[in-house]
Amino acid sequence: MTGSQLKLINPIGNCDSTPGNNVLQSNVLKTPRFPAAAADILRQRHSLRNELLKQTHLIQTRIAILGGSTTIEVKNTLELFLLAQGIQPTFYESGYNRYCEDALFENPDLWNFRPDIVFIHTTWHNVSKFPELMETEVEVEAHVSREVTRFESMWEKLHAGLGTLIIQNNFDLPRLRPLGNLEASESFGRVNFLLRLNAEFANYARTHSRFLINDILYLSAQVGLAAWFDHGYWYNFHMALSPTATVALARNVAAIVKSVYGKSKKCLVLDLDNTLWGGVIGDDGVSNLVLGRDHPIGEAFLNFQQYVKDLQRRGVILAVCSKNDAENAKEGFSHPDSVLKLKDFSAFKANWDPKPENIRKVAEELNIGLDALVFVDDNPVERALVEEHLPEVAVPDMGMDVSCFAERLEYEGYFEVDKVVQDDVNRPAYYSSNAQRGAYQTAFCNYGEFLASLEMTADIGPFCPVYLERITHLINKTNQFNLTTRRYTSAEVEAVTRDSAFITLYGRLADKFGDNGLVSVVIGQVYDQMVELDLWLMSCRVLKREMELAMFDALVERCQALGIRKITGVYVPSKKNSMVAEHYAILGFSRVDGTSGGREVWQYDVPQAYSTGARYIRRTVEALPAAAKA
């Protein structure tokens, strides 16, 4: 298709598939392998639930919903969205509008439930007192302070008593504005007041771990206030959200929970022609591509590229999968208006092979699971092919209008993160470096020579405060090189760090191509002269680099220093960790007989004299000064 033809079929218009526009009747917001329209979700909940429950290896989680309004419809819808993400929740619901009492007075039912996550579903209706007309700034500030203190008391109680992750709604806005536009500008105006509360909530989220905001201010704007809140549902059933809004909220909360459990996507695989630019590079040539601010459609492609670039900057890995000659495809990025450059892509597949094959190769090359990929293509036939052959890959329906591409991609919440950490921001660079390493490797006939030439250094040591956030992040998102797939909350990681009954090790790896960051974690509990390994994981970006051997060397040395005679390793098979099935056997452990339920127990006698296993990694004493780690 040429650029001029594109003008005819690609009118720039409203993204009428966005949730603000009659989502109940829309069938274009579908998530692959999940119901299309919101109406279908609400109507077919039971059969959908039964279907989704047929999945295996679901992650179990316990969620307490503390509601300032009716919550059963929220719970039921949220359950579906979580199941669609491979997470099976068990719920606790507070009594109607008992959210505060349950937390502050430590409702035994809630405490005995021991939630992993508390979701506090409050809206502007739950503000205890709004400022009075004409109250002074000082008086309004006192109202803000009182309201925030009320919520903070609840959060502190939940954190202290349950050590749980809290997901807290911020505030939506009322549909009615008795003061008109002054509601926003006067300090006693309700809109002004609610936005101040939201700023305080956000500040708390920035300064406290295990506390995340569910941004219903944004959601209500996205849906539209008139569709978000329905007076009839409120007066008759005390439902603070309309059915449309309930679906939007559940989708959003599920995206947050998914990110907490490390199930967010990591890599965006992009088609090129009519996806990143208008026109066909092989036919039209780079100079005739529709891209840039001098053309309405060209500007829309440019803005989509900018959105993709923004994703890449915050850690989403980019890959290309295009039916093109490779040289032609690469030339497209030399377009003077192209925001994306060739170096932004960590994998590049441009050839005439079927796309499912190429996407599989992208996953292999990047050492990530197919379920970490999102594939974006303007061509519905290609999308259908990928959906059919690679059901693990997320394939959003992008529609025909490039001006809506970014919104369609974003709406699914594929790349939701619970925190932006430096290691994630660096991730695309790691993978690009890996591609360089791969190319470099081909120059060697001997793999050992290749490893030696990488000049690898590892910093391996006990957990320290500066790394706890990254360690928690890695624990909750690593699936493949993970012996037990045991997840830890931040509080649990902090606890084992302080507890002398645990051996903890983190590992960082660097080489001549760059720093791979913190890539491996080991946690073991000490019993007398034995340590049982509860967790051993490693990022797949450093596979086959002997980092696991370096970690084992450090572990054995620690055991020797502590007088530990035996190491017990546990392997719990999962859908994704078959790559480490032989891990303990390779390290010289012996399997203990009589294990059952798939859980394997292995043992290793710590020798008095030990020869290190890692031949190509030099361990640095302290890569980071001790003071910096404190």
Partner: protein
């Protein structure tokens, strides 16, 4: 939408085996008739009959027959 189709969908919304709801039941007697079922019913009526139902109208319903009428299911007005 026929009455039979409606009742089958209502079974689904309430999580009941197909054929359980016969049409004369009182809503108060249906264990699963809650806010979640209610919005499922609204979505069903809108999708199948193009009828927009307000929450106020549902409050005035006491039986499944009332829901049938509200959703303008064929033959339900007699």
């Amino acid at each position: 939408m026929t009455k039979v189709e409606f009742l089958l969908e209502l079974d689904e919304i309430l999580g009941l085996r197909a054929g359980t709801i016969r049409g004369s039941e009182k809503l108060d007697d249906l264990e699963n008739w809650d806010s979640a079922a209610l919005i499922g019913f609204v979505a069903m009526a809108e999708a199948n009959s193009g009828v927009s139902i307000s929450p106020h109208q549902i409050v005035n319903c006491s039986t499944v027959t009332d829901l049938l009428r509200l959703a303008q299911v064929e033959g339900s007005s007699s």
